[in-house]
Amino acid sequence: MSDPIDPAVAEDVRRPSYGQRRRDRIDALAQAGAVDDTPGVSLIRGAWLRLRRNPVFLTGAAITVCFVVLAIIAPWIAPWDVTARPLLDEVRPQTNPVPGPQPGHPLGGDDRGRDLLSRLIVGSRQTLIVGVFATLFGLIGGVILGTIAGAIGGAVDSLVMRIVDVMLSIPSLLLAFTVASLARSPSQWTLIVSIAIIQIPIFARLLRGSMLAQRSSDHVLAARSLGVKKRAIVFRHMLPNSIGPVIVQATLSLAVAIIDAAALSFLGLGNPDQRQPEWGQMLGLAQRYISEAPHLAFYPAGCIIVVALGFTLMGESLREALDPKTRR
């Protein structure tokens, strides 16, 4: 059998179920953390050497850095207050529901006379907060579960992994909708929690896989034979060495989290408070004015796409750089 081009896809060839497919993709990434015994440049250094010249990675990183900086300084560079309604006088529900571009308002206003550009700029904050916190909580939950499963093994491992596999087999967006519907009063935390929950099994399986790869490695064996305590082996030897693929997955998860969050707010399951702008919510509200003012949807959608693309490009090239098959 020749080397498959994409290990994740090639796995599909043999095992068909959807959950299995997601599981295999995660496992392929987990393998990337396995120790390379050949002397030479370290894994991270080698990856960096390849990444430095990779235009895909550089593009993704540039987009990401711009977006994060924008989100941090947003309130200071936004020309107008996001709750102020300077264009209210121009809104005519019948003839001109959405004020167009004019001096001082390069993109015009929204249907309530608020400055569109300012809302787009400040909206980056909500998107970043939801994306980062959802991924962070998913990561923390997954790391806890994955460490328990990977470190203890045996029956605990089987139990944890069964739960994780059931969660992976449910279509993730539907699971997020269902979790979000449990919220008594929806807010941005509804989005964060429901997206974090669908991320947990991904991180858990990934970390467990890469910890298993560590468990049989020489340095863990050496530590064990020296009589190092189990806890120290897990936290000081196995965990730090298996966290690499998890970081890569977190980058990819950020893109998915941003898109899923947009889908949830688009359906009205997110923050009902419209004073604080959020791209997904702006896109949902723009549906009403599809014939009069499609640009109301184009701008927030464009922002979502560019940011999600940034994280995807960065994550995919990181994954490729860490993949043992592409190391030369």
Partner: protein, 336 residues
């Protein structure tokens, strides 16, 4: 083979049982609890007390779960409060189902017809400009939310150029006879060609938007699988013994590369349903997805119960069928 199918059926029953427990737990933790879920807006203190007694909410949890299972098996989910007020929740699902089947089938068809040839040619010219372009486009495709694709299609084809209808399943002026609930098929069966054509026009845009989800997967898998097969020894052997390119491509490459593609097609059900929730909402297309979106937003818990359980069961059944189909094609799977 029979043993394999039986084992899979048994596994499926366990999964459905676990899912029903999850659904039960979910219903119990809904804001307001199961009584509010069933009564919805029509609740008064008297009705609440009566229903609580009738449901036996004072009884231990296992007993409650057993009663919940009984109601589910008898199809008693309560009455819809928001999606179709006053209608039995199960009927809401059944009336909406054909619309989504029609949409999903057309979307899948489009994805297959475009995705497979494109994936094949991208693989044949791997590394070329054509290949790079398509791969870059598929990366961008991952970043574009499906509801925005739907919005774009709606804006250009329906609003701006006025080529196709903006929303719904059928124009109001058309008096069509209903047979199966699949509007296009109905029109063909009753020879009401205008009705069939009208229904198809309403389907095109939502189906195109929805097709982007399975398309991305089908394209990627076809490309990877063809690349894989092109590298195989038997292809080299075929070339070495002087077979014509046409024969090698059709018999050796394409036929072997199609196996994984065929099986992934069956696995798009979950993604299609999640996508249908979003596309149907954009096009006000009255299918299961739109009902799901409405009941999530408006908290129509009776309908939600049915839809979630139905989605889970359909999903599990499709997975089972795919597994069986695969075992038929590839005997190695059976012994696993």
């Amino acid at each position: 083979m029979l043993r394999f199918v039986l084992r899979r059926l048994l596994q499926m029953c366990v999964v459905v049982l676990v899912l029903s427990m999850l659904l039960f737990a979910w219903l119990r933790s809904l804001p307001g609890g199961p009584v509010s879920a069933i009564l919805g807006e029509r609740q008064t203190p008297e009705r609440r007390a009566a229903l609580e007694a009738a449901l036996g909410l004072d009884e231990p949890l296992p007993v409650q779960y057993q009663k919940f299972l009984q109601r589910v098996l008898q199809g008693e989910f309560g009455v819809s409060t928001k999606v179709l007020p006053g209608t039995d929740a199960l009927d809401v699902f059944l009336t909406r189902l054909p619309a989504t089947i029609e949409l999903a089938v057309l979307a899948l068809l489009l994805a297959v017809v475009i995705g497979i040839p494109l994936g094949y040619f991208a693989a044949r010219r791997a590394g070329s400009a054509v290949d790079t372009t398509t791969v870059i486009f598929s990366l961008i495709g991952v970043a574009v939310p499906v509801f925005f694709t739907a919005f774009l299609l709606k804006y250009f084809f329906a609003v701006e150029w006025n080529l196709l209808p903006v929303s719904g399943r059928q124009s109001t002026g058309i008096d069509a006879t209903r047979v199966t609930g699949l509007f296009v098929l109905d029109g063909i069966l009753t020879r009401e060609w205008d009705a069939a054509w009208d229904a198809l026009k309403h389907l095109i845009l939502p189906a195109l938007a929805l097709a982007t989800i399975p398309f991305a997967v089908i394209f990627r898998i076809t490309r990877a699988s063809v690349l894989d097969v092109l590298d195989e020894d038997y292809v080299r052997t075929a070339e070495a013994k002087g077979l014509s390119t046409g024969v090698i491509r059709s018999r050796h490459v394409l036929r072997n590369a199609m196996l994984p593609v065929l099986t992934t097609i069956g696995l798009q059900a979950g993604g299609l349903l999640a996508g249908a929730v979003l596309t149907e909402t954009v096009f006000s297309y009255r299918g299961v997805g739109e009902a799901l979106a409405t009941s999530f937003r408006e908290k129509d818990y009776a309908v939600l119960q049915v839809l979630i359980l139905a989605a889970a069961v359909i999903y599990v059944v499709i997975n089972l069928l795919v597994d069986i189909a695969y075992a038929v094609i590839d005997p190695r799977i059976r012994t696993r």
